[in-house]
């Protein structure tokens, strides 16, 4: 479903601040596969997600989504294939617009946006049904401005928006890191629910080792722009937090667990 071939990216090349964020990264995800990416700060995890989403153009390498070469496809055009949730809950939604307007924006991903109604009646019914299982009471507040919601509610809404058009790839970039533990757990639960329900091919970056072990079919550890460790299936299931810490130390990364 997603193939990354020899991806490389260097920031500020030729200056004192030169930083190799991606170094010949090869990665391929099967349809419906859920990959968790961990690694220290500056290890290249977020850069990888940004290159896949098109926010950053790689220096070298190719990206294929569902066999289509999207390497040079503009970010907003690629958006119809990709659902994204950012770390900052403020980034994923438009605060001055209502819940239903935000959902409708996402519902038109990859479609032409014309002069028809911004939110249709059928959409309203559909959104209410989709919001109910989240158990956040949002289904009764469709016309409330998103700016009035809490960080957790906004992040849950962003997740729903990201999965709305059944994206080929779902990118979760530390999407629970800015939330308190209880809310984070709830948002994680919603993520899992949506990923399973829509059988989404997912890449999730996290700093939470517990989450990294609990979720996903495959675990990838990055360090200095390279994939340094990979585990899947029974091997991944057998991993423990101390194992991961050991791996981190082995690759020379600082651990703050």
């Amino acid at each position: 479903m997603l193939v990354c071939k020899n991806l490389s990216k260097t920031f500020y090349p030729g200056t004192a601040n030169e930083r190799r964020a991606l170094c010949n990264v090869n990665l391929s995800l099967r349809r419906g596969e859920f990959v968790v990416i961990i690694g220290g700060n500056g290890s290249g995890k977020s850069t990888l997600l940004n290159v896949v989403s098109g926010a950053i153009l790689s220096d070298a390498g190719r990206i294929y989504i569902d066999k289509q070469d999207v390497t040079f496809l503009a970010e907003h055009k690629r958006a119809r294939l990709i659902g994204r949730v950012f770390q900052d809950p403020m980034l994923g939604t438009a605060a001055s617009m209502t819940i239903e307007e935000n959902l409708a924006l996402a519902n038109r991903r990859g479609k032409t946006r014309g002069l028809g109604s911004g939110v249709t009646r059928t959409e309203r019914v559909q959104f209410r049904e989709m919001l109910r299982p989240l158990e956040l009471g949002l289904e009764d507040r469709l016309t409330a401005r998103v700016g009035l919601l809490s960080g957790g509610q906004r992040q849950a809404l962003t997740l729903l928006m990201a999965s709305l058009r059944d994206p080929k790839v779902l990118l979760l970039d530390e999407h629970t890191a800015a939330l308190d533990p209880k809310t984070a757990a709830k948002v994680q639960e919603i993520s899992l629910q949506l990923v399973r329900e829509h059988k989404l091919t997912t890449m999730m970056v996290t700093h939470n080792m517990g989450d990294a072990l609990r979720f996903g079919d495959r675990l990838i550890m990055m360090q200095e722009g390279r994939i340094v460790f990979e585990a899947q299936g029974p091997e991944k299931q057998a991993l423990t937090v101390p194992d991961l810490v050991e791996k981190f130390v082995a690759v020379g990364s600082e651990v703050i667990a």
């Binding site: 989403s53 926010a55 503009a74 970010e75 907003h76 055009k77 958006a79 119809r80 990709i82 994204r84 950012f86 403020m90 980034l91 994923g92 939604t93 438009a94 605060a95 001055s96 617009m97 307007e101 935000n102 409708a104 924006l105 996402a106 038109r108 991903r109 990859g110 946006r113 014309g114 002069l115 028809g116 109604s117 911004g118 939110v119 928006m161």
Partner: protein, 317 residues
Amino acid sequence: MTDIITGAVALGLVWAIVTIGVWITYRILDFPDLTIEGTIVAGAATSAILMTHGVSPLLCLLASFGVGALCGLITGILHTQLKIPALLAGILTGIGLYSINIRIMGNTSNLSLLGTRTLIDRFANLRGIKAILGLGIFENVVNKQNLAAIILVGVVVVMVIALCTWFLRTSYGCSVRATGSNPDMARAQGINIDAAKIVGLMLSNALVGLGGSLLTQYQSYSDVQMGIGSIVIGLASLIIGEVLFGKSSTLRSLIAVAFGAILYRAIIALVIQAGMRATDLRLFTAITVAIALFSPTAIQQVKLLRGRVKRRGDAGL
């Protein structure tokens, strides 16, 4: 006195259209657009020159609308394609327009429409309107022209508000709003934010061009200097409107902003009447805008302090 009031309301309604244009860039797109200082003149100049050549004043409105959209397009391209910062892009277009506006008017810096029948003249002479203007309740109004302008421009303002409310609720309108509210999110949802910004700027400037056309038809002249300070007048009207009449929804904001423009003109008319020098108006406007911009913060501070005092009282301290 009634003439001063009707004059202020008529002029305020004309400025309401300009202010709605400012509102679209400033509030919806989050784009401080200074193009409008040139656009308002471009709209005025286009209508003035066409009218002296005998073109129907109604067509002139459309022409000015189109010329305004073009001005917005230029700023939009400067900003989105050449990556020039928003403020500078607007200033550049605005400055360039100064020369163009003089050319539009036939290489002069002002153009009089005396002797040309403007839209307002024609409207005032319609049989039905004449009958309305002759009604007993209007007998105190000496200047019937102002009254005709209020009715005519009032209708245009209602149409503009309806157009904007409709557009901003459409699918494309929503993507323009999302672009202004959160460009990162808009891009992630597959919105071409460059295109959305350009469309927003074009609509805004088209309305300013329309305002310029009505202004020139109301004043019966066009002058290359008439745009100076228009952004500040627009902002003053916008903020006065929002503070006094609220901004809970798109429609409410638009109506508030239109009333703000009328109120601003009324205030100006009153201070002039009270003896303020015309040359001091700019200073007065600048101070008004500063106070108006500060007022939401001030109101919040007062509420906060009041809340504290009240709670302390409850606790029996």
